[in-house]
C-alpha cells in the first residue's frame, strides 16, 4: 500500500473514487454499529454495564 495516497490523489477520477469509498466505509461501519447495538437481546447487557458503572462510580 506504499505511496497509495500520493498516486491516487493526483488523479481526479481516482481521488473522487477513493473519497466515495472512504464515505461508504464510514457509512457501513456506522450501519453495522447501529445493527449491532440495536439487538433486543442486549438490553440485559446494557443494564449490567450501567450497574457496573454506577457501582464503580
Amino acid at each position: 500500500m506504499e505511496n497509495f495516497q500520493g498516486t491516487v490523489m493526483q488523479n481526479f477520477v481516482l481521488a473522487n473514487l477513493w473519497r466515495a469509498l472512504n464515505i461508504a466505509f464510514v457509512i457501513i461501519m456506522f450501519v453495522f454499529m447501529v445493527r449491532y447495538f440495536a439487538i433486543p437481546e442486549r438490553a440485559l447487557h446494557y443494564q449490567r454495564m450501567f450497574d457496573w458503572f454506577t457501582a464503580w462510580y
Binding site: M1, E2, F4, N22, A24, I28, M29, M33
Partner: protein, 375 residues
C-alpha cells in the same frame, strides 16, 4: 501460528531480506503441524496452508527444489503435529478416530461417530438450523446470544469484528482489485476457502482466523485512509475495544454472578458440577450425590466434559477407557480397577456394557447419561 504462516507464505514487497522457499516451506510446515496438533479441525488449516504453499512452489526455480519444498512442508507437519494421528492410525487404523472419514460415500477410515450425525445434533442448530450459511454467519457475528458459553456457539466475535473488521476486509478487497494486488486477494481467498471448509463455520470458535484477517485489513488500510475516515475509524476502535473489554469480563463462561453463587455454597457442595448447575442434568447430579469420592470412574467415548465427574476435593480418579474391541472392553475396565462407568446412551460402549453380565446399570437419566457399576 496461522498469522505467522501466512506472513511467511506471502512476502510483502517492501521486505528486502526474506527466507528462500525451502526455509519458508519448513517454517510453514512446522507451524501447520503445531495447529494440527492442537485439535482435529487443524486438518483444515493444514489443507489451507498447503494451498498457500502453491505460491512458493511457483516461485521456486527447478523441479528438484519443488519436491524438496513439498517434503519439508510435509515433514514439518508430521514432526510437530503427527504423533497422535499416527498413534490413532496404528491403534485404530484411523488417524481421526473416533470420526468416520468418508469421501464420495466411500469409507476411507472406519470410526464410531459420523461427522454429519455429530454436526446435526449441535444445540445451535435449533436456532440457526433453517438459515442459509450466510444468515448463520450474520446471526452469530451480530451477537444475538446474550450469554457467552465455553463453546461460543452463537456468541459472536464482539463489536470490533462486526463493526470494524468486516467492513475493513471488504474495503481492503476493493482496493486490492483496483490496484491489481493479487497477494491481498490471495490472502483473503485462503481465508474464504478455510471458512467454507471448516465444520460448524457459523461458530466463532472454529473461525477465529477471521478476526486475524479483520485486524490485518485495518492495519493495511489505516495509513492510506483519508484523515477524517481515519479519525472515525480510531474513535470506533476505542469505543469497540472498551465494549469488548466489558463484554469479556461480564460474559465469561464463569461470570462474576456464577462465582459469587459458588462461594455461597457450603464446602461439601463446591464440586465441579455446581460451577454450572443448570448445564448438568439428572445424570451428573445423581453421579455427584451417589458415587463415593474415592471411586475410580471411567468415562465413555461420547463424554466430552469429564471435569464434572470429579468430587469437591478432586480426589476421585476419572480415567478414559477407549475401545474398539468389544471382547476386551470389560476386561480392560476391570484391569484398571474401575468401579463405575459414566457414558452417553446409545453409543458403542453402551451396547457392550448393556449386554455384559458382570456390569450392572445403576442409573439412567432422561438427559441421555447412563452409569454402570463394574463388578
Amino acid at each position: 501460528m496461522w498469522v505467522i504462516a501466512i506472513c511467511f507464505a506471502t512476502p510483502p514487497r517492501s521486505v528486502r531480506t526474506y527466507p528462500e522457499g525451502r526455509t519458508s516451506a519448513l517454517i510453514i510446515g512446522l507451524l501447520a503441524g503445531l495447529i494440527l496438533g492442537t485439535k482435529y479441525s487443524g486438518v483444515y488449516y493444514v489443507l489451507a496452508l498447503g494451498l498457500l504453499l502453491i505460491s512458493i512452489l511457483i516461485a521456486s526455480p527447478n523441479p528438484g527444489q519443488k519436491i524438496q519444498i513439498i517434503l519439508l512442508f510435509s515433514g514439518g507437519v508430521l514432526l510437530m503435529g503427527g504423533y497422535w494421528y499416527l498413534f490413532n492410525f496404528v491403534t485404530f487404523t484411523n488417524p481421526l478416530w473416533p470420526f468416520e472419514i468418508k469421501i464420495a460415500n466411500r469409507i476411507i477410515f472406519p470410526g464410531t461417530i459420523q461427522i454429519s450425525a455429530f454436526a446435526a445434533t449441535d444445540s445451535s442448530l435449533q436456532v440457526v438450523g433453517n438459515m442459509p450459511f450466510w444468515e448463520r454467519w450474520w446471526y452469530t457475528w451480530s451477537d444475538h446470544s446474550a450469554l457467552f458459553s465455553v463453546d461460543s456457539r452463537l456468541g459472536g466475535f464482539g463489536p470490533l469484528w462486526f463493526i470494524i473488521g468486516l467492513p475493513a476486509i471488504i474495503l481492503w478487497m476493493i482496493v486490492a482489485i483496483l490496484r491489481c494486488d493479487w497477494w491481498v486477494l490471495y490472502i483473503i481467498g485462503i481465508h474464504g476457502t478455510l471458512l467454507m471448509l471448516v465444520p460448524f463455520n457459523w461458530m466463532p470458535r472454529y473461525t477465529l482466523f477471521l478476526v486475524v484477517l479483520g485486524g490485518i485489513s485495518v492495519a493495511a488500510l489505516y495509513n492510506v485512509l483519508l484523515p477524517w475516515t481515519r479519525l472515525c475509524l480510531s474513535i470506533l476502535i476505542v469505543v469497540g475495544a472498551i465494549l469488548a473489554l466489558f463484554t469479556s469480563a461480564d460474559h465469561g463462561y464463569f461470570s462474576v454472578q456464577d462465582i459469587r453463587y459458588f462461594q455461597t455454597l457450603p464446602p461439601g457442595q463446591r464440586s465441579p458440577v455446581n460451577l454450572d448447575p443448570q448445564r448438568y442434568g439428572p445424570g451428573y447430579q445423581w453421579f455427584e450425590h451417589s458415587i463415593a469420592p474415592n471411586a475410580v470412574v471411567a468415562y465413555g467415548n461420547n463424554v466430552t466434559l469429564p471435569y464434572p465427574l470429579w468430587n469437591y476435593t478432586l480426589e476421585r480418579e476419572v480415567i478414559a477407557v477407549t475401545t474398539i474391541d468389544s471382547d476386551q472392553y470389560v476386561a480392560t475396565l476391570r484391569a484398571k480397577g474401575v468401579h463405575f462407568v459414566f457414558l452417553g446412551t446409545g453409543g458403542y460402549q453402551d451396547a457392550i456394557l448393556s449386554s455384559d453380565k458382570q456390569v450392572h446399570l445403576i442409573f439412567e437419566g432422561d438427559d441421555g447419561w447412563k452409569i454402570f457399576k463394574v463388578q
